[in-house]
Amino acid sequence: MFAYYARLAVRSFRRNKVLTALMVLAIALGIGASMTTLTVFHVLSGDPIPDKSDRLFYVQLDSDGRSGYVPGEEPTEQLTRFDGEALLREARAERQALMTGGGGTIEPDGSTLQPFSIDARWTSADFFPMFNVPMQYGRPWTRADDEARARVVVISKVLNEKLYQGANSVGKDLRMDGQSFRIVGVMQDWRPEPHFYDLTVGTFGTREDLLLPVSTSFAMNLGNNGDMNCFGEPPKGENSHSLNAPCRWLQYWAEMDPGKADDYRRYLENYSSQQREAGRFERPPNVRLRSVMEWLDVNGAVPNDVRLQLWLALGFLGVCLVNTVGLLLAKFLRRSGEIGVRRALGASRGQIFLQCLVEAGAVGVVGGVLGIGLALLGLFAVRQQPVSYAKLAHLDGSMLLLAIGLTLLASIAAGFLPAWRAMQVTPAIQLKSQ
């Protein structure tokens, strides 16, 4: 039966090659555009650290001056050095890390390499276990190194390959900005996307080649890359990176059981109250504690352009579907005579319906397969675009499943109405008009 319907469908396609090609093309374009944008959206809205994204929390305090205070307003994103160091010292969460983006110029010794600049991160020892950083050689530095302000660094696999051809470089000395640092560890390839732990240095496509203790960076006055927001002047003779500077430029993450988040929030409020009593804070306690996905959501990690493109593509798919419904309807009704004969010869309405649906389904499946091909082409085009997330645009298994589902749904949706109308053709009128 099914095979017979399929044969009928093929015969019908042969009779109207142009119309069939048109329908297939419309479905293919719609599916291709939707799958391309859905894939980009899926990749960009993904969880960068699925194992523990609900255990990691971003801390915000309101250390602003009294002027411009609006109750309940979102506190600023980053912490001052004073608050960051205080929270880190008190260490009330299971693990905590203070950090900021940095940069420097590497001076390769004795080789033919020219000096080159890199992006780096100054952070504290818990960073590595908190974010599941995989190590290739050696180990991360320890809390003792933090306290000792040790001149130690962990470098990326890429930097290790560039400087040491991928050999175990643990224990070697690295020169950066005229200073010497000892390598204690080499990371494996590790590049969470989006770059959730610090969005101020770019959301996608950011790579950090070197990590060193934030305490060391304070001691050596290494400055920072990323945002710096000052709400007053640094004390005389000091700069905006000094301990007491009224400048916010550090991020703070805490790891804890999600059930303890309320306790931690109260702790942050208490801390704010104490600071207010001490005269440092001028506003009532106003704190935020957000998990990874909440933090990404609040910051709009998925670019608005990507959302717009997704809507646009879905709208396009809608038009393509309506178009196909119209064309299929025309096609089936054009064959009213033929359907009338079949009905008169004993085919039930259900059989006519099924036959039409098979034909519509065939259009949808061919269109869908072509559409997935177009989506692969579209994603290739996205990867050539000059945007930071370009390299991430790949079709994965779950998106392929979605594509197949979308295709089936689209072809059945497109075929349902025309098949419904076709099965209602009354044989008597058709036979008379012959």
Binding site: L312, G315, F316, V319, G326, A330
Partner: protein
């Protein structure tokens, strides 16, 4: 042309007619909004910077390790850059329009003020800054030679009671004094007084931070190459490549142990900065074209079906004396009616989509002008699409009426 017979025919083909109307409505709604988005982006891409873009080249270097006398090296650099043949002016500025990072300060009318009056992007520049950038002074004067200071020394000293001279852009001046009398007044950056000595037409902020593209100010403070300052050179448009090469060579000669961070024409910087917006314009335009093509093909398909289905009636009408022109116009009018209905629905949908986008993505309201543009576009499209099938209908010979089928 009598519309009634057309309407009664359409009433018998409700489903097909409804599908065409729906397709036209969707296309109209999407195309109106997409065109509006395109115009927004085009406006952004062509935003004026206020500087002599096609005469400027940018070079930036940084030292390796601590630089001991960056200020004097910067002075030497500027002297050698000015000596390059073809260079009419050179300066070092702290930031540039259409470049990633930006530094800004809040300014207020009184030193002790609850909330700052406005926020201005801060351009620090050395001698000849105004001439090099080519910003246009519309009131007041340029900085005098004895007004320039080293930035580092000024910053270390903290706030001073003596005012620093400042030049505002027209937008900043209007924020500080809406009546237009900012020139000559004294304002405050924290506790530091600023004395407004001039106003320039425009100088765009580096990246529109805080939705501010026009509010900037210029201060006569010299940065060093080591603090991220950009060397800017002005020359004639056709000598830019040559000057850029000579500038890189000159800096290399002054100190070979430095990293070259940037060297480009300012025009390339603008192109680079707006590349995402340009890509979006390309994408939106492509989708619009694809939508219109798909809709046109849909109209062709359905119209052909109707022509074929009604060929006997057409034959009868022809036999009863209808001219070819009347048959042609019948199908054209039918399409016009369907398109009109689709366009009316489409405009409502376009408006609704725009409202949704305003809420979701803080887009501005779409000017009503886009609605008639979309309408005309779809009317024309419908007429073009229906012309082929309609001509085939007109070509149906009257003899068809006498045949059996």
């Amino acid at each position: 042309m009598d519309i009634r017979p057309i309407l009664s025919t359409l009433r018998r083909h409700k489903t097909a007619a409804a599908l065409i109307v729906l397709e036209i409505a969707l296309t109209c709604a999407i195309v109106c909004n997409a065109l509006f988005l395109v115009s927004q982006r085009v406006e952004k891409i062509s935003m004026p910077s206020g500087i002599a873009e096609n005469e400027l080249v940018v070079v930036r270097v940084s030292g390796i390790g601590k630089q001991t006398n960056a200020m004097s090296r910067t002075r030497e650099d500027l002297a050698s850059l000015r000596a390059i043949p073809g260079v009419t002016a050179a300066t070092i500025v702290s930031q540039l329009p259409f470049n990633g990072s930006s530094s800004s300060s809040s300014i207020q009318r009184q030193p002790e003020q609850d909330a700052p009056t406005t926020n201005a992007s801060t351009y620090l520049m050395s001698e000849a800054g105004i001439d090099t950038l080519g910003v246009k002074l519309i009131a007041g004067r340029d900085f005098l030679p004895d007004e320039y200071r080293d930035y580092a020394a000024t910053a270390n000293a903290g706030s001073q009671s003596t005012a620093i001279p400042v030049i505002f852009t027209r937008a900043t001046a209007a924020k500080m004094d809406p009546e237009g009398n900012a020139l000559g007044k004294t304002y405050y950056m924290g506790n530091q007084p600023l004395h407004v000595i001039g106003v320039v037409e425009a100088l765009s902020t580096p990246n529109g931070w805080g939705d501010n593209w026009t509010g900037s100010m210029l201060l006569p403070l010299r940065r060093t190459y080591d603090e991220g300052g950009f060397y800017m050179l002005r020359t004639s448009p056709e000598r830019r490549a040559e000057v850029l090469k000579a500038a890189v060579a000159a800096l290399e000669r002054n100190d070979p142990n430095r990293l070259l961070r940037d060297n480009r024409l300012f025009e390339d910087q603008r192109r680079d900065f707006f590349k995402n917006d340009r890509a979006m314009v390309g994408l939106l335009t492509t989708v619009c074209v694809a939508l219109l093509v798909v809709t046109a093909l849909g109209i062709v398909g359905l119209a052909s079906f109707w022509v074929q289905q009604r060929s006997r009636q057409i034959g009868i009408r022809r036999a009863l004396g209808a001219t070819r022109g009347q048959i042609l116009r019948y199908f054209q009018t039918e399409n016009f009616l369907l398109a009109t209905l689709g366009i009316v629905l489409g405009m409502l949908a376009a408006y609704a989509i725009n409202l949704a986008l305003m809420n979701l993505y803080a887009l501005p309201r779409m000017p009503l002008l886009y609605l008639p543009v979309g309408a005309v576009l779809l009317w024309v499209l419908g007429q073009i699409a229906v012309f082929g099938p309609a001509r085939r209908a007109a070509a149906v010979p009257p003899a068809v009426a006498t045949r059996g089928s």
